[in-house]
């Protein structure tokens, strides 16, 4: 009926008009968004004790079993509650002692390491240390940690029944295989010498062993907790760290309080840590600007540009490269990428400068396999990949395809818009040298499965993030022929070069650091030359914190690691931006010390 249609279109018009007017009114009447921090510190120069530090993640935490967890957001909590024998120095990435008295020197043959525990370390107080944990009304004092705990913890992590993803890093310890196959009740290479000394015997010398010992998989745990809670232990962490888990509201929030028996006198500084879960990036940024949370680590592109444009925030933000690499992996066993020139053509045709502009500058371009923050990275590495159409065209000619490759090639990547975005950039770049790309997107688990299977995927968008801060973690895993398997290959380019293998094996045992780094540089040079990947970039991440948060700097190994922060309290409202506080208080429990 015409009249109804007329009234409906009139209704639509009126609706749009109303929306326009409402939009205008809102734009005029709304208070301006703050462009500067809302709170500043009190002005103390020296570390202060007290207060509540509030941080967040956009996902939900799995649990806090250091032997199982292998993700950023679990580690954010694990690093508050547990300590390892050794850890990394934030700035130099050198190993430093924590629960151990010193970082052990390897024996003459490089196969034996002896760890000596500090004398003053106890587990945090917990009901698992009571005679009857089920009925205990309050926590009992934690017992001192012994060398036996170190052995028990490693053996527990290595046990087949635990299902730890960390086993790979410890397979070099003598007797692990027999232990995992049930032929031995203990790992023969882990020996308790006395109350505080434990010795590890390796199958062969390996300079990366100490890095494995600094991973959370090697953290000592209290066997009592595993006996009491069984499968549920991830929800009842008992460690030797600076904080104790006080409360866990699933999917909402975790509260940590200071561990009074922490072994470093006067630390930690902050009384309470509040870890908010499931908070979306947008909401987190709003809360941060409101002064409700103290740190943010991920932003939407729009928020990123906005926050970067505020000069008042400048001293409280830092943009650092993540220790990861991204690139286009090409299967060296499949035509046409069994031809080295074809791979090099692709590597030099990728216009990564353009990629960087398209990502608002949030990429650190890098044409080599070792990420910039790691020792072994060489800014002047000869032959590293960069955009050069002339080189790319010349390589196409050498490959025998001066007029382009006759058939379209398939680029496989996991799902998601970002992957697609890069896929399209590759597609455009390679068209310039006459290669047509067909994009194929699949779910991440399938991507993992297929790219790890031999002679299956021709080219793929590849990335690797650090497990421990050493070049071996990138080169050995991604480019050693030992990492090629029929399925579940880590060397997903199926690249094999005996010279690279030889260098990597030699570097693995070399004790002289400069010589060792030289070997990694040489391996890098050969890899870049052979181009199993077109190396492109590392991610840049921007972190921001409130002006009253001190002693925080992004840590290349541990994301969002807040153990050592202190708060310059009482914080005071900056007069620039006065507004009544909202009712939104992120904590479940009364804030107490928080002003």
């Amino acid at each position: 009926m015409p009249s109804t249609r007329r009234s409906e279109s009139l209704a639509g018009l009126v609706g749009l008009g109303a929306l326009g007017i409402a939009g205008l009114l809102i734009a005029v009447a709304l208070p301006p968004a703050p462009t500067a921090p809302r709170y500043a510190g009190a002005g103390h120069e020296t570390p202060q004790r007290g207060g509540t530090f509030v941080f967040h993640h956009e996902a939900d935490v799995r649990g806090f079993d250091p032997h199982i967890a292998f993700d950023e957001l679990s580690n954010m909590g694990i690093k508050l509650m547990y300590e390892g024998l050794i850890d990394y120095d934030r700035d130099t990435l050198e190993l430093v002692p924590r629960l151990a008295e010193a970082v052990p020197e390897p024996s003459e043959d490089g196969r034996t390491y002896r760890f000596r525990l500090r004398a003053d370390i106890r587990f945090a107080d917990h009901v698992v240390f009571c005679e009857d944990p089920e009925t205990a009304p309050r926590p009992c004092p934690g017992r001192p940690i012994t060398a036996e705990d170190v052995r028990w913890s490693l053996e527990h992590m290595l046990a087949t029944s635990t299902g730890s993803p960390g086993v790979t890093f410890f397979e070099l310890i003598e007797g692990v295989e027999a232990y995992r196959e049930g032929e031995a009740s203990h790992v023969s290479g882990i020996r308790v010498l006395d109350e505080r000394t434990v010795e590890m015997q390796l199958l062969r010398a390996d300079q990366t062993f100490l890095f494995a010992m600094a991973m959370t998989f090697a953290y000592p745990v209290a066997h009592e907790a595993y006996e009491v809670y069984g499968d549920d232990v991830a929800r009842h962490p008992v460690g030797t760290g600076a904080y104790i888990l006080e409360r866990w509201e699933p999917g909402v929030q975790l509260d940590f309080v200071r561990n009074p028996s922490f072994f470093i006198e006067g630390q930690p500084y902050v009384d309470r840590m509040v870890y908010i879960l499931n908070l979306s990036r947008q909401a987190a940024v709003m809360r941060f600007r409101n002064g409700e949370i103290d740190h943010i680590h991920r932003q939407t592109p729009a928020d990123y540009r906005l926050l970067k444009s505020y000069p008042a925030w400048e001293p409280y933000r830092l943009e650092e490269p993540k220790v990861n690499i991204w690139g286009i992996g090409m299967n060296c066993e499949l035509a046409p990428f069994d031809n080295r020139h074809m791979r090099r053509a692709v590597a030099f045709a990728l216009n990564t400068e353009r990629w960087k502009r398209a990502r608002a500058g949030r990429l650190l371009l890098s044409g080599q396999p070792i990420p910039r923050p790691l020792p072994g990275f060489d800014p002047d590495l000869p032959g590293q990949h960069h955009f050069d159409l002339d080189v790319a065209r010349e390589e196409m000619r050498l490959a025998g395809y001066p007029d382009g490759y006759p058939e379209p090639l398939t680029l496989t990547m996991s799902d998601g818009e970002t992957a697609r975005f890069y896929g399209e950039l590759v597609q455009q770049d390679l068209r310039a040298i006459g290669i047509e790309i067909e994009i194929r997107q699949i779910s991440f688990p399938i991507w993992l499965q297929q790219t790890g299977t031999r002679r299956t995927v021709l080219m793929a968008l590849q990335g690797w993030s650090m497990d421990y801060p050493d070049a071996a973690n990138f080169l050995d895993i991604l480019f050693h022929s030992r990492s090629i398997h029929e399925t579940d290959s880590e060397n997903k380019a199926f690249y094999s070069n005996p010279e690279v293998d030889r260098l990597l094996d030699a570097a693995r045992v070399e004790r002289d650091r400069p010589t060792r780094l030289g070997m990694y540089r040489e391996a890098s040079r050969i890899i870049v030359d052979d181009a199993p990947w077109g190396f492109t970039f590392s991610d840049l991440a921007m972190e921001m914190w409130q002006p009253y948060v001190h002693n925080y700097r992004p840590n290349p190994v541990w994301s969002n690691f807040f153990r050592d922060v202190w708060l310059d309290l009482p914080r005071r409202r900056v007069a620039l931006w006065e507004r009544a506080p909202t009712r939104s208080v992120p904590a479940l429990t009364p804030f107490g010390g928080r002003p």
Binding site: A11, G15, T582
Partner: protein, 312 residues
């Protein structure tokens, strides 16, 4: 009436079974949960162990049979991710989503019915055209657009509501749920308003309403007691049909407003291929939607004798 209930229950059970079957094979077909759970660095042996421990090395039909057998006894299995019983994982989240959806539905009815009735009474006036126009717009704007805008304007800039989250106690939960519930309610209340308006226009012109007016009844009683009551029938049916949309809306809204309910859970479970949790959420959602729809059907039957007789 009893026959209607029996028919509805058996149809509901069949649909739940079909949904379970479909999702089970879909979830197990899209990837390897072992790889998704243990990550890219897991060794081949630990992957094998994982598959063996969780029965993933069995043929799919055997796995499905086992799952169904356990599920009918109330055992939904354990989460791959954190080894918690699925029932516990879901039970942590379910009441939160129910609260959010309940409030959203409350707002939908409150705004939808009120505006629908008022628009019908002031038919073809500027009020009518204006509000129906807004309703038109309301149906067209998806949650993922209105949610962030509401959050920015009403929570961040104006400070009237909290910036997402869940709160401390029940009163605080309700307070935190207000803005997301309003976001979710926009589409529903717009739908209800439009339907209520057209139903009201029909019933207001009906003979029995004219008779009621002629008898000299109070106009409010005529409108609410006679016209609106009869106009409500399609709304009751629609209420049942709204449930699946509310569930879908909750998934997006919970993400935007950091509301820790089932919606968030299902996204996390899908990305980590936590098949037992995905299955648990699907089974429980399917059962609740069937229950809601069934309840609406039965309610319509109870309210309208014609439906009852036509079906029996």
């Amino acid at each position: 009436m009893i026959e209607l209930v029996i028919k509805r229950v058996s149809a509901g059970l069949l649909i739940v079974l079909a949904a379970t079957t479909f999702i089970f094979f879909l979830a197990n077909g899209i990837g390897d949960p072992a790889l998704a759970t243990l990550g890219p660095n897991a060794s081949a042996e630990s992957l094998e162990d994982f598959r063996r421990t969780h029965g993933l090395d069995q043929p799919p039909l055997v796995q499905f049979g086992r799952y169904l057998g356990a599920a009918v006894q109330g055992d939904l299995g354990r989460s791959f991710r954190d080894n918690q019983p699925v029932a516990t994982v879901i039970w942590d989240r379910l009441p939160r989503t129910v609260l959010l959806m309940g409030m959203a539905m409350g707002f939908e009815l409150l705004f939808g019915l009120t505006l629908g009735i008022l628009a019908a009474l002031r038919r073809n006036t500027w009020f009518d055209t204006g509000f129906m126009g807004m309703a038109f717009l309301g149906i067209s704007v998806p949650n993922f657009v209105s949610g962030p805008i509401f959050l920015l304007v009403f929570a961040f800039l104006l400070g009237w509501f909290p910036i997402g989250g869940y709160g401390v106690d029940f009163g605080d939960h309700v307070w935190h749920a207000l803005l997301p519930a309003l976001t979710m309610a926009i589409i529903g209340s717009s739908t209800f308003a439009r339907i209520m308006r057209s139903e009201m226009i029909d019933t207001l012109g009906a003979d029995y309403v004219r008779t009621a007016r002629a008898k000299g009844l109070h106009p409010a009683r005529v409108v609410l007691g006679h016209a609106a009551r009869n106009a409500l029938l399609p709304i009751v049916t629609l209420l049942g049909l709204r449930l699946p949309f509310l569930v879908a809306g909750a998934i997006i809204t919970e993400h935007i407003f950091a509301w820790p309910g089932m919606g968030r859970l299902v996204i996390e479970s899908i990305t980590s291929l936590d098949v037992p949790v995905i299955m648990g959420v699907v089974v429980i959602t399917a059962v609740s939607v069937q229950f809601g729809n069934g309840l609406a059907d039965v309610a319509v039957g109870a309210l309208d004798p014609r439906v009852r007789h036509a079906r029996s």
